[in-house]
Symmetry: D2
Subunit: 398 residues, 4 copies
């Protein structure tokens, strides 16, 4: 018998039926005169999700990694100094990608479980009086550690230092799920991907671009062609793409944006918070700790949980998958083996979350963890009960 | 946000992805010479699911109710005496249908929660020395009460009485999920439907026909046309249907039969038992009782649960649906208001079942039931843990 | 390589992408309180397609044959006299079905290729002064011969004779595609099916019921249970069905009705006429004749073509299917072997029709027909060019 | 009414039903231990389609343009000399891309309608005795002009000159449809895309890599990160990807490769040739000329047709789309306005091709072209009839 269980990895998410259907389309001519009727609303409707009206949003047939590359190669030049922090697998990878493109990375090491070291950044920016730093990288939501950083504070550091560096934010696992305010926070490049808050398969890098970032493209000299944003923006303005787009993903994104708009952005954020908080209540009931070091850092899209000393988180994830057919996220990089992750972004209901928690409990007990069956579930149930104001009948899935 | 929760009604079931895909087909010519290549294996592969090699299985574009009608109108004549028991909503409806077709129903009343009253049947059959009783109706699995009856015992009663009546069995919510032995039990007409153990949408009445039932068609005089089995069998033998079939459902059924065969019938039955037993452990932990009066009657496809005195089971089901987006089965007929039902047939995993149990707990606590959150979940978890020998990775869903 | 050619059988039709997607849905609880939100608009939106505001439309999980049975068993009694004409395979089958239900059929034989013999009906009705005739059957569009009959004229005959018989119309291959005016024509029972003008798979009998027909149910004594319309109407009024409905087909029908409404009924009829007329131009260019004996009878949903003497139409259809992968309709019954049929109802464009005509030409030439390649195509092209006022870009398929 | 006509653009192609279904999948964990079971056969089964056993094939979530970039940035260094020819829009774009990455392009101009100028290449290679040329670019099938070049001859030129340059081939619109022999022709980098011969949506760059190309990666210094092949190959070898892959496209590619293998590569090539030749017969019957200058250059995947003097090919394409809902390919770059293109790759049957030809005829006559309706269709019909040895029943589409 095949296995219909939900998945609890922090992306790709459980794809809603409605998006499955929206993507199941025949080929159409991407050079036809009415193709613009498909894509123009997509570009418009992406803006509020990024929190921008001044900027624009571009799409690449790639992944979030491609979005990182597009962001930096279009706006920076080899040898440029870039400020960044390494506090998780994805911040680490972006740093590595920048180095490969010849950027001079000034990297702050932070504990995995901490957020962007805003104070260190502030000092570095204040000290950089000749503005050698051309860009600041910040990972809004570290998918590896379940840590959400304070992007407004990073902007504040730039403002205080009166520093002109571009602010480049990895919002791959936040945009579409968590509050994101590109204009208000002065984000110049915001990178998202289709397979997270947009609830689609991987395949689209979605990048918000501020007017300042757009201007930086005129002088940036990093080589780029596939990821050239000026080509992309010029084609988009004409209702097309520089190369063949994925029609299914565009149709899916159109529908995803419709779903987010119908629910309302604040309701989407509140829903993610509610689901996440239930998961955290369960973790507390288990007597376990989060990788994120304090509540201000808690991510509402993914929860990274420290396993007790002497246990192997990787074995736990493998066991849950093999025994119960439920995927959780393994620990990556510095926290491999010590954390497992519950992804709860996108179309995740309280009912689905409870099934994930119940599974995690069974798997932990199977492996000898000092956990009481039902304990985490009960804690989450109590929270979900109290907060179940916004019910949605099953039929709405259609 | 739309709602992707599983459903816990006793049919239609949660349709597996694989069957969703199998049904998503273009139209094809049902009179084309190669259409037989689609349908012939379907007819062949249905036989082992019904437990017959001597009989054959026919398909009507209808529902289980249509299957009941086909079974009796093709083999009986107005005025014929038919033995039956009323012990649930579906046995009651079949009796009503028979009456509309002019049959003389001799009905035993049994408590809802009891099975077919085999002893009463045995006495009636023994007393019917001139064989006025032409058919015996038995509901293998009463979907309304979660009661599985002993069809072998009914056959035994016929055998002991040396009685020639046809044995007509409603297997709508058992065939495909529970052990069913048409030949061994001497079942003459066995009625199933696509939306239960076959995990498809409603739309196919699936009827097993013994050679004796086939012979009875030659003399039966109940009017029938749409449901005429001789027309149907003749057309089927020629590789066609007397009228336009549903190609999507035939393609779905082909795939459903493949899934059942790949898993193995015994494994399918064992899986249903395991899931059901976990649900029953939860009910016990809640301190509640089943509608089914004793373990021998417990159904492995649906569990009907008595709510405590003073509570309204209908309100519970409505609340779970409205608040949490999870459908359970309401009580029907004589048990309306006093039972709610958890359907757990078809593609139901332990993980899904736990989400249903967790939801039922929240809903009961919301409505003031004396239930402890997590209690039923923990009892089911304990059982599922112990019995989780046959794990299936999520990927197998493809 | 699989074969994506259109089909040219007169139902099931080529299913539009939009309906394929609409039907690809998960199970939902058909007893849930919001199920009515799905079905109520379906019932309302069916009415204008049937041309009724006084009547109502009911749905059975069956086929058109089931619709015939529902129409007559709910409104007539065994022994009732029914007036009918046999002028094609489907009128013949309905007569046979009536006989099986004990009706006294008074049948006029008409040539296959002629319509309902209105004058003969008029005489019979005028002569029936004691109103023994309880119902008149008329096949609006004989799918076997491509003949559309004049239902308004049948009503006129009833009116002139001041005859109270019910007017029962088989609109299976007309309703949804051709102009149908249930109220204006005084049709009491109008039978349609999902797999024709509604462009869905088979599986729904769709029956329009006039108030007079509804009243007749109170006294009709033909046995019925699965097809009992009073049960069905009572359940529908309460937002449900007496037994499990097919959610995919209901969702598909909802979308089909939306498509028909968006295009506009008159535009739908005009489109069918345009496509059909192009096909007829091709037939004329081939030097062949239609089965339908004169233009007033020409059907806009299916064209039945007489093959030249000495040729076997069945072999032609088999050859086109085997050699080119294109299904046409074979001749049925009295015209088996002498006609082949091109179905052009539902989602059929001029471009698709041309591919069918081009295929028919190749197949005929292959088999030695005296046909010039391209001749019929050119005639149809000329007509389609002149009439191609209402173009639809391919992208609208989404 | 929506529009179900086939499309005749040279990619994306008409997606087969079977691939539509294969791609309609739920999310799964790309880090799970059994993910390798999905991807390993894909990688293996790609090799014969590329004609390689010595090389390997990698997949990027990108398009053919991304494949070009991956090919050159992984194997070349800024300042390297690269030999190329500009004889169509896609060869021109690859040259432009190379320049952006700092390569020193030595470009031969050839007429659009000619193939790769092998003799000029041969001379240049022979003259390059100090091996400054590091790579030779060749466009196997120029999608803009319908020209297939002789890659074996390019290899021969390298061999004669005993030149070590890498041979990089754009096979985007050939691989999977036309004969391609990576090993035999000594191709070092072969670029394909999912939306052409693989019949999928855009979204995968598929690149064949020879051992020599693999070795070149160790010294190449063009910056790359997203497109880094060493990272990709290392991850693939471990059963994973360096970033989130598109599960639907991988499932689709698995099925596409199964389809190609079932049909057989030679049969696939022969089928493309047959369809293309019918189209060319039609063009000749119209009295028009191909952009490709002589038969040896004719492409079997796309036919570029020169419109008569005084006509605007772009207007023709727009008219066919707007009036008949059929997309053809416009002329690009130097041949914009003077050619229109009929794409006939992937799942294109003779019947579909005839509908495209019939549409082109109507559109041309609408715009005053001196064309006789039916003429091209008849010529193609005659050819298709003669060559219709391998028929496929429609049902095989399932």
């Amino acid at each position: 018998m095949s296995n219909p269980n939900p998945i609890f990895i922090p992306g790709p998410t459980n794809i809603p039926e409605r998006l499955r259907r929206a993507m199941d389309v025949a080929s159409r001519d991407h050079r036809a005169p009415d193709f613009v009727d498909l894509i123009r609303p997509v570009f418009e409707n992406l803006k509020p999700v990024f929190g921008t009206s001044a900027g624009q949003v571009v799409l690449f047939p790639a992944t979030g990694t491609g979005g990182w590359e597009a962001a930096i190669t279009n706006t920076l030049s080899p040898g440029d100094t870039v400020l960044a922090a390494r506090h998780g697998m994805f911040s680490q990878r972006w740093i590595d990608l920048c180095r490969r493109h010849g950027l001079d990375m000034r990297v702050f090491e932070a504990p995995w479980g901490e957020g962007v070291p805003v104070e260190a950044f502030a000092k570095a920016l204040a000290a950089d009086t000749d503005h050698r730093i051309k860009a600041v990288l910040a990972t809004h939501n570290e998918t590896a550690t379940g840590v959400r950083s304070d992007i407004a504070a990073v902007r504040q550091a730039l403002t205080v230092a009166d520093h002109p560096a571009l602010l480049c934010v990895d919002g791959v696992s936040s945009i579409g799920s968590l509050d994101f305010r590109m204009d208000e926070w002065g984000v110049d490049l915001a990178v998202a991907g289709s397979q997270k808050g947009f609830m689609l398969p991987a395949g689209l890098a979605i990048v918000g671009v501020s007017p300042k970032a757009r201007a930086a493209m005129e002088t940036a000299t990093c080589p780029r062609a596939f990821f050239d944003m000026r080509d992309m923006m010029a084609a988009n303005a004409a209702g097309s793409f520089p190369y063949t787009p994925s029609v299914p993903l565009l149709c899916g994104l159109r529908e995803s944006l419709a779903m987010l708009a119908e629910e309302g952005r604040e309701a989407v954020h509140a829903r993610h918070h509610r689901i996440a908080e239930g998961v955290r209540r369960a973790v507390a009931a288990w007597g376990l700790s989060l990788c994120a070091r304090r509540p201000a850092l808690y991510s509402d899209t993914v929860t990274a949980i420290l396993v007790p000393d002497g246990y192997d988180a990787g074995a736990l994830v493998a066991h849950a998958y093999t025994r119960y057919g439920v995927p959780f996220g393994i620990g990556l990089g510095d926290v491999a083996g010590t954390v497992f992750r519950i992804g709860h972004l996108g179309q995740m209901t309280d009912v689905m979350a409870l099934s994930g928690l119940a599974t995690a409990e069974m798997a932990m007990v199977d492996l000898g963890y000092p956990i009481t069956l039902g304990s985490g579930v009960a804690a989450a149930q109590a929270y979900y009960r109290e907060t179940a104001a916004h019910a949605v009948p099953a039929a709405a899935a259609a």
